[in-house]
């Protein structure tokens, strides 16, 4: 194993350190080295969006980032959404509105929706569809997800 590099980063507020080859994808580092398997690996080329996480406050595909690129970064994964044993309003809304079935795309869907609502707190349905088009879902037909994001937007606007 040539040229192992050290990666220090924060995930969901917790500091982590690991050593990996520079070619290691960030999503694999999160799952294999940090044991945080909530983030899913789908297409591995930036299309399906299942691996979307928050990197320094903005959503990004962790399958097309290298772990070494995240050295010094603050990440948030789906595991960081729940606070004090309480589901995040987005998670509540996805459960309430059938925003998931098999759950494979859900972590990416949630993290994408989180960044989307941060920059567009009062979206139209069209804008929601455009926002979540970043993530592919093969179960729901998207309608439940659109409903969930709309409901979560209302909750988040009202304050948690």
């Amino acid at each position: 194993m040539a040229d192992m590099m050290t990666v220090r980063l924060k995930v969901n507020g917790v500091a982590h350190e690991g050593r990996c080859e520079p070619r290691k994808l960030l999503v694999d580092f999160i799952r294999e080295d940090l044991g945080l398997t909530g983030t899913h690996v789908g297409c591995e080329h930036g299309i399906c969006g299942a691996c979307t996480i928050i990197v320094n406050g903005e959503s990004a595909r962790s399958c097309i980032m290298l772990a070494v690129q995240a050295d010094g970064a603050e990440l948030m994964t789906v595991e960081g959404l729940m606070q004090d044993g309480k589901l995040h309003p987005l998670q509540e809304a996805f459960r309430e509105h059938h925003g998931l079935q098999c759950g494979f795309c859900t972590p990416g869907m949630l993290m994408t929706a989180l960044d989307f609502l941060r920059t567009n707190p009062s979206p139209s349905d069209r804008e929601i569809r455009e926002g979540i088009s970043a993530v592919l879902c093969r179960c729901t037909g998207y309608q439940g997800i659109v409903n969930a994001v709309r409901a979560a937007a209302a909750t988040l606007r009202g304050g948690r």
Partner: protein, 287 residues
């Protein structure tokens, strides 16, 4: 798939990056936002000895307005451009085009310099650069040179940048206040890349306010029929060739539209509408 083995460098300055490119003698590859190169690495279609990562060079990310033009650092993220007041005011075509680049989590990483240097014929920014007749700055071991859009793109994924050069800056002339514009895009699905290159064409065209110049725009629209050739998007320069059904339709609804007294009605469609159709079109003209 996972990337092949490589050595990794994240220089802090352009000079350091240039030295690394020199050291690898053409076997290194510049890594910008990674939204195109990383998939290529994952598929092992690209096997550089070392990616030279520009993401830790802060001097490459800026948007500056100077007399009659806007300068954008090569590592300026698409998401930054999307929300930039300077871009909104001076380069509304660029702002409009940015909303079409990939998806939200792609634009947070993707950069203007990376998109232009990659020269994917299905990408928006090369079309905007040619339509606005902008230029890029490239730095190499021998110094700096300015390359006009027309002299930059050669063919699919190919520019006149040399392997030891780094695209550092994009310069676009500010659009005239009140200038009309439109962006048109053909794609089975918004935001995808690479899958349907042969069936996609994106174009951006502009024209001056004078009615006499309208034909110039129409010719630019027709020129995009030469799909795949980035030069086809150069406003007012392309030659009329072929009769693709899409461009024919676009010509009628866009430049060729008889409604004057201001703007022709651009066949603009939101990404959402475009996605909802089997044969999409969207448009961007400048009047």
């Amino acid at each position: 798939m996972k990337p092949p083995k490589f050595e990794y460098h994240a220089p802090r300055t352009v000079d350091e990056a240039l030295a690394l490119l020199g050291r690898y003698g053409g076997d290194a590859k510049v890594l910008a936002g990674g939204q195109s190169l990383m998939p290529l690495l994952n598929f092992r279609l690209a096997r550089p000895a070392a990616p030279v990562d520009l993401n830790r060079i802060p001097s490459l990310a800026f948007i500056e307005e100077s007399v009659g033009r806007v300068r954008l650092g090569a590592m300026t993220r698409q998401r930054t451009i999307e929300f930039s007041p300077v871009v909104a005011q001076r380069l509304p075509l660029l702002k409009e085009a940015t909303r079409w680049v990939g998806h939200l989590p792609i634009r947070t990483r993707g950069t203007i310099g990376g998109s232009i240097a990659h020269a994917d014929p299905s990408a928006e920014y090369p079309a905007v650069l040619t339509a606005l007749e902008g230029e890029v700055v490239a730095r190499g071991a021998k110094g700096e040179r300015v390359i006009k859009a027309a002299d930059l793109f050669q063919t699919y994924l190919t520019t006149t940048l040399t392997p030891d050069e780094i695209l550092t800056e994009v310069r676009l002339p500010a659009m005239a206040a009140g200038a009309g514009y439109a962006l048109e895009e053909f794609s089975r699905r918004h935001g995808d890349h690479r899958h349907r290159r042969g069936r996609r064409a994106r174009r951006a065209a502009l024209q001056d306010g004078a009615p006499g110049h309208r034909r110039r725009g129409a010719r630019a629209g027709a020129a995009a029929r030469r799909r795949g050739d980035p030069r086809a998007r150069r406003a007012g320069r392309g030659r009329h060739r072929g009769r693709g059904p899409e461009s024919h339709r676009a010509g009628r609804s866009g430049f060729g539209h008889p409604r004057i007294g201001g703007l022709p009605s651009p066949p603009h469609r939101s990404p959402h509408e475009a996605r909802a159709r089997a044969s999409d079109r969207s448009g961007a003209w400048l009047t």
